[in-house]
């Protein structure tokens, strides 16, 4: 096995995603254990910051029509480059784009696939991928048995060792990309951080008692620089959009800090956030299951506690 790795480097609007640095770092670490090599592939138009990747060579496939994502074009470009250059493993960040692309390219290059990996280890010279199943209620160790392999790494789990280094950039002009499926417009939620990418999340549940009280969640998120999340109860009641839902039928998250306000901790919610590094819970019910996994808890009235938290954090931040 040549252990020749390729990492997909994702950009949106010319800016590289943090999860791509994480995937590159993880691939570089694996390669160092098996005397492998790592190269990167980026697709887009003008891309900033490609040099600082900790890997020696990055191939930039450029075309003005590729600024926005095109599943068909990206799949073809990556698969062709992978096959023509004798790579054996392909790494993605398991972002919205990575999760769309990884399975498509896996079919094109005839590879086995491990998606949403939270750990990659080497055993007997093979990569063993650990990934959550049942929304994190269990973990499986997966061994890809085909010669070619695709891994997609869950964002915010692997360390990104940003290097000051200067990768060699090899520019490939793309002629008439396959745009059978293409993104024609991006609709950003105004200035909002997404729970899937945030370092800190403040979530509200049924205990918020109504949509009007989510102002408190938003204010606390604001002073912490956090994303707003919600429990399924709050989303199903129509208080918050589904994009904010954390849990088994929402997003599975692992931020540094997860603050649960008025969330009792149904099993499907805990499954989606239990891998957060620190968990804070504020709930009136001392027997709420959320306290069984919280690092710090306040058993009390959130309508009294949360305004005090906002003030205290404002104080220390000023």
């Amino acid at each position: 096995m040549a252990n020749k790795y390729l990492v997909f480097i994702e950009q949106r609007n010319g800016a590289v995603k943090k999860s791509s640095y994480e995937a590159a770092s993880a691939a570089a670490e694996l390669a160092s254990k098996v005397s492998g090599t790592v190269e990167g592939i980026a697709i887009g138009n003008d891309i900033e910051g490609l040099q600082k990747f900790g890997i020696s060579k990055i191939h930039h496939f450029k075309n003005a029509d590729l600024l926005n994502y095109s599943p068909s074009a990206y799949t073809e470009i990556i698969s062709k480059f992978f096959n023509e250059n004798g790579f054996d493993s392909l790494f993605f960040g398991a972002t919205a784009m990575g999760k769309d692309l990884a399975p498509r390219t896996a079919v094109h290059i005839d590879a086995g696939l491990a998606i949403d990996c939270v750990a990659l280890n080497i055993a007997e010279n093979e990569i063993i991928a650990t990934r959550p199943v049942f929304a994190g209620k269990a973990l499986i160790d997966l061994k890809i048995t085909s010669p070619k392999k695709v891994f997609a790494l869950r964002p915010n789990v692997f360390n990104a060792n940003a290097s000051s280094g200067s990768a060699e950039i090899s520019l490939h002009e793309v002629q008439s990309p396959n745009l059978k499926v293409k993104v024609t417009e991006l609709k950003k939620s105004e200035g909002k951080l997404d729970v899937a990418e945030a370092d800190i999340i403040v979530s509200g549940g049924r205990g918020m008692k109504g949509p009007e009280h989510f102002k408190l969640v938003e204010e606390l998120a604001d002073v912490l620089g956090a994303a707003c999340g919600a429990s399924r109860a709050a989303v199903d009641a129509g208080w918050r959009p589904h994009g904010e839902q954390v849990g088994q039928t929402g997003k599975t998250v692992s931020p540094n800090l997860y603050v649960a306000l008025g969330i009792s901790g149904a099993i499907q919610h805990l499954a989606g956030m239990r891998s957060s590094k620190y968990i804070v819970a504020v709930n009136k019910d001392k027997d709420a299951p959320i306290f069984q996994i919280a690092d710090y808890g306040i058993v009390g009235d959130l309508f009294e506690v949360v305004p005090a938290m906002i003030n205290e954090i404002k104080k220390i931040k000023s």
Binding site: S72, T95, T249, V305, I316
Partner: protein
């Protein structure tokens, strides 16, 4: 138009998951199985599309006899036909996609809906893989879908927003929550579904490219510290977050 919807039969999200004696699968004792929640959005979108443009709908599921329960639910909601690809053994995602792609090819459907992921193995890849095997276009994680002639326009959910994706039939669409409000099966639908025949077929064999070498429960988290019972505990909480956890 012929429309297919692929459905899976999964443990209820409220189920506690324990590891089976083989150490590689779950212990199914006492676990209730349901239609995969995302597949309900896929079924609803298939029905709405048929209501608008006419045609025929078929639900396809890969698994054991237990999956018939999920296929009956699809029939009760209004799907016309159901096919069980009967195979109880382990299949990795690529092998599942190959079996589904072969059946879809036989059915000759040009529009296929999936749930964006099954809440058992959480792969979120089967729809995309199936589309590539068929040479169909694909939009994953769709929160809106519209069809005009053969032109497809969807919005798909991404980090912090949505992207508008345009493509053409034949196509595979994977459904995210928010795509629609799934209907409840009517009593008449439930009665009719009981009488319908579920076609049983043997899926085409396909090699697995991955194997599960172990399954475990996540490390249990120790319950932490109750800092207090009202706002007087807040300064201590914030101190702990700064000095002990170092997260703010």
């Amino acid at each position: 138009m012929k429309i297919a919807v692929c459905v899976s039969h999964v443990p209820d999200t409220a189920a506690k998951i324990n590891i089976g004696s083989d150490g590689k699968s779950i212990d199914q004792n006492g676990v209730t199985f349901v239609v995969n929640p995302y597949d309900e959005f896929a079924i609803e979108e298939a029905l709405k599309t048929k209501e608008k443009f006419g045609g025929e709908t078929v639900a396809i599921s890969l698994g054991g006899d237990a999956n018939k329960e999920t296929l009956r639910k699809a029939l009760a909601m209004g799907i016309d036909n159901a096919v069980l690809l009967k195979d109880e053994g382990y299949r990795d995602s690529g092998s599942v996609a190959k079996a589904l792609a072969d059946e879809i090819r036989q059915q000759g459907t040009e529009l296929v809906f999936f749930g964006k992921q099954s809440v058992d193995f959480d792969n979120s890849v089967i729809g995309q893989m199936t589309s590539e095997l068929l040479g169909y276009n694909c939009v994953s994680v769709a929160v809106s879908f519209s069809l005009e002639g053969t032109s497809v326009k969807c919005e798909r959910e991404i980090e912090g927003g949505k992207e508008v994706v345009e493509t053409t039939l034949p196509a595979v669409i994977t459904a995210q929550k928010g795509l629609n409000e799934p209907r409840y099966a009517s009593l008449k639908g439930i009665m009719a579904a009981k009488k319908k025949e579920i076609a049983e077929k043997s899926p085409s064999p396909a090699a697995n490219y991955a194997e599960i070498v172990g399954m475990k429960k996540p490390a249990s988290k120790q319950a932490g510290k109750i800092v207090g019972t009202d706002s007087s505990a807040v300064p201590e909480l914030v101190r702990l977050l700064r000095e002990e956890a170092k997260v703010i």
